[in-house]
Assembly symmetry: C4
Homo-oligomer: 277 residues x 4
């Protein structure tokens, strides 16, 4: 029903996503604050859009890969949903994971559409992200029937950060560009990623050591451990934020801003349009 790899893989993806978001939003916030120093050279609106497009494409690509992997791994269902010979559903866990990937795939696709065309309102990418996280939590919620106490508990703890991310993304629909919400989302994503790794070590320890799944002390330790992961993710995001702020500032101070007159008229217009977006 599960394996160390099956938890480490999505964990790594979420870790990378969290780090990426922390870096991206820190960079944008730093350029926004240092506009007077000509920071738009470092990350102009068109660079930002390009980054968003890359992010959307990568999300889309890995979600599709994830869906296919869940279906066509050695013990996957290979798109068979119902085993007619034995009258039962076929490998529902793989199907559930595929469904989770499907929603992230949808979120990636919507983000691509929003940032390449102007057909849809900008906040759509956050709304789809909120729905994707909500569905991930929703499926985990009904995923846990009949498992051991510790197994249920570590997955329940996961729900806190998953639903937290859903809520923060939904708030961003109304408060887009709020750096605190963006960094909070990044922290929670790193927390989710590192917690997936922790689940892998607790339930399917590669060293072979087994945890007593019914010991209440283990549960208390795990709960506390979850908080330490949160501290760890907050610290990582803080360090990233500070580093990027400093780098942006020092680079801007060393190289004086180009003369505005050197820009071609079309570019200058572009820039000022950017600021009103």
């Amino acid at each position: 029903m599960g394996s160390f790899k099956g938890h480490a893989l999505p964990g790594s993806f979420f870790l990378i996503a969290g780090l990426w978001w922390a870096g991206k939003y820190s960079l944008w916030y730093a350029t926004l604050r240092n506009k007077s120093l000509g920071s738009t050279r470092l990350a102009s609106r068109s660079t930002q859009r390009r980054l968003e497009v890359i992010e959307g494409s990568v999300t889309l690509f890995f979600s599709v890969v994830g869906m296919l992997a869940e279906q066509f791994v050695s013990d996957g269902p290979r798109l068979h949903l119902y085993d007619y010979s034995e009258h039962h559903w076929d490998r529902l866990h793989n199907w559930q994971h595929s469904t989770m990937y499907l929603f992230f795939c949808l979120a990636g696709a919507m983000s691509l559409i929003v940032h390449t065309t102007d057909a849809a309102p900008l906040a759509l990418d956050r709304l789809m992200l909120a729905i994707a996280f909500f569905i991930e939590g929703f499926l985990f919620l009904y995923h846990l029937h009949g498992r051991a106490m510790l197994d249920v508990h570590v997955h329940q703890l996961l729900l806190f950060c998953v639903f937290g991310e859903a809520m923060v993304s939904f708030l961003e629909v109304f408060h887009r560009g709020n750096i605190l919400l963006e960094l909070l989302r990044a922290s929670l994503t790193i927390l989710q990623g590192s917690w997936f790794w922790q689940i892998g070590f607790v339930l399917y320890s590669p060293s072979g050591a087994e945890w007593d799944q019914k010991d209440h002390n283990n549960m208390m330790f795990i709960t506390m451990c979850y908080c330490w992961h949160l501290v760890f993710s907050i610290l990582i995001v803080s360090v990233l934020y500070c580093t990027i702020s400093c780098v942006v500032r020092s680079r801007l101070k060393r190289t004086p801003p180009m003369e505005m007159g050197l820009l071609k008229p079309r570019e200058r217009q572009q820039e000022s349009e950017d600021e009103t977006l």
Copy 2:
């Protein structure tokens, strides 16, 4: 206590309502964005008001029909609430369904009043809709006592979208005209409609096949199936939105806007009033 028809009928209503909303709000958003091309020819404010009045009337009409149908079908209570001969309540399920229709009837009536007169604040229609959805969920919540596990589960899943619609409608009281909330409401309504059909097929399958109501795998499949319905409804809304956006744009480009001078003064004033509403 239930039947295939009894679930297919409201399901169809919600499906139609969801499609209608997706279309209506997409059209309005498209006209709003293409104002410079003279889009108000396609859907001026007075057309919009007329559509709202039609929507309110249709809601009111079908809710009243629903209430009467629940009372006067062959095995309905015919307005008898208490069976004095046998000292028990008479066909409470029909009465509960009537109550649900009653609130949608109220919402339709309020919407009519809001859009035909200017006696009440505009947001009242959303507030009543929120209350109607909340009461629908509230009654379902206390509807499920003593039923089989799968039966309870499929109705609990329904609650997610019903309460979701209530929450989105309530948010619209404060964020009226937010296209994302409107499309989200449309998606959830389509989800509710198609899920009613699914419930009909699972619990009262017309083909006669029966589901094992105590099999945990069935529950896991059903949960996943619910997510697929959501994907399906999001896709339908997206397709509708894109189609309508394209059609509006292409029609506007083919026919150049009428000369403003051709409009009678009173009309022109009307138009500019519309924009400030």
Copy 3:
């Protein structure tokens, strides 16, 4: 532990409070909308403040009376909290009811302070009202241990409107003067009042008829009945709102506005200050 009177009395208070609020806010909204017709003659800001002071005083008075009544009725605790002879707490139900009244007493006092002096921010009255309703619900929540199923159920239903009122009042801290929230609060208060009467009739029927407290059909009927009370309260608020709107308009049309020149300079200044408040 309870009696018909003990539910009818607070029920009547909440009914009157709900009707009063529905009337008050309808009147203010009507005067606000008809300002061009000189509606400030009917309810100027100073009249409004006087009404608020009266409301605060009445709330304060009846809360104190309620607290004293709970203590000094024939079987009340008369301020004794602990029975030292028999080592148990003395009449905790009366003490709990006194505590509920205490918070409404606090809300009344705060409202008085807010509207007579300008020491505290205006929204404080709503915050205290929210706290008072929250505590009422909070105490009911832990009030129900060891009672019969129907008894628990009717009190749980009460919690929906009590916590609803708390939430609406809290929202009003941020959206003060939103007529929809104010009328919603009035409706929920009327619902609470009429539901107290209903509880009295169900649990301590004056006609002596007893309800079977374990019959599931009774619970289903009661749930539905609650929704009917809500319809009833919404209709009452609507009728009040419409009547007051019409009366205000017809009175304003019959009597032309006084000449502004007839007002003394100080008064006129007062009026324009009002509008900026």
Copy 4:
């Protein structure tokens, strides 16, 4: 597993924090309202910043002291987490308390950074405070397994104010400077402090009297007692607020504002910058 001192100590800290906040925010609100009388003499923006820095330092200091105390008291774990000889976790309660202090330590550090540098957005201090309170509640939530009924109940009541504080702090991220939210947070903090003392007296009474942990009447009394603590904390905050308002006004009236001309130009500019912050 617990002691009177172990509850009285954090209780005292929260009491002091609550009183400090009530005083601080009352003072700032009073200076803000009396600007025309030259109130910035009493608490200019630079004084405010200095107070914030002191508050952050004190929080940081006592959190670190708390963490160390939990580790190195006579029966503390002294940084040993796992007892390898007996294969069980070592004194998890102390570790959990250390974790709680860790988050307040983080909140203090972030507050220091926010108010000494301008590297981070201002609202970060409230966000970290919200997270610190949330984690405190979160750890208490999973702290209670296998305890007696009354023990569980008094700690559950604590959760109401802890999560309440988390919610209010999170709201302040978006509504910074709302005096009502700030005073509500102060009240809830005083409530938490006094409730810690109450828990100490109930569970580890220094007089040696023991409460029957299974008596339902005790639970009902404790619930009511919690409400009285809330009344008490609201009254304290009100008295503090009124006293400070009066003192500020009377001092401003006695001493006429200094001539603006006497301020050095740089200072004057500082002041006007303050107002735009």
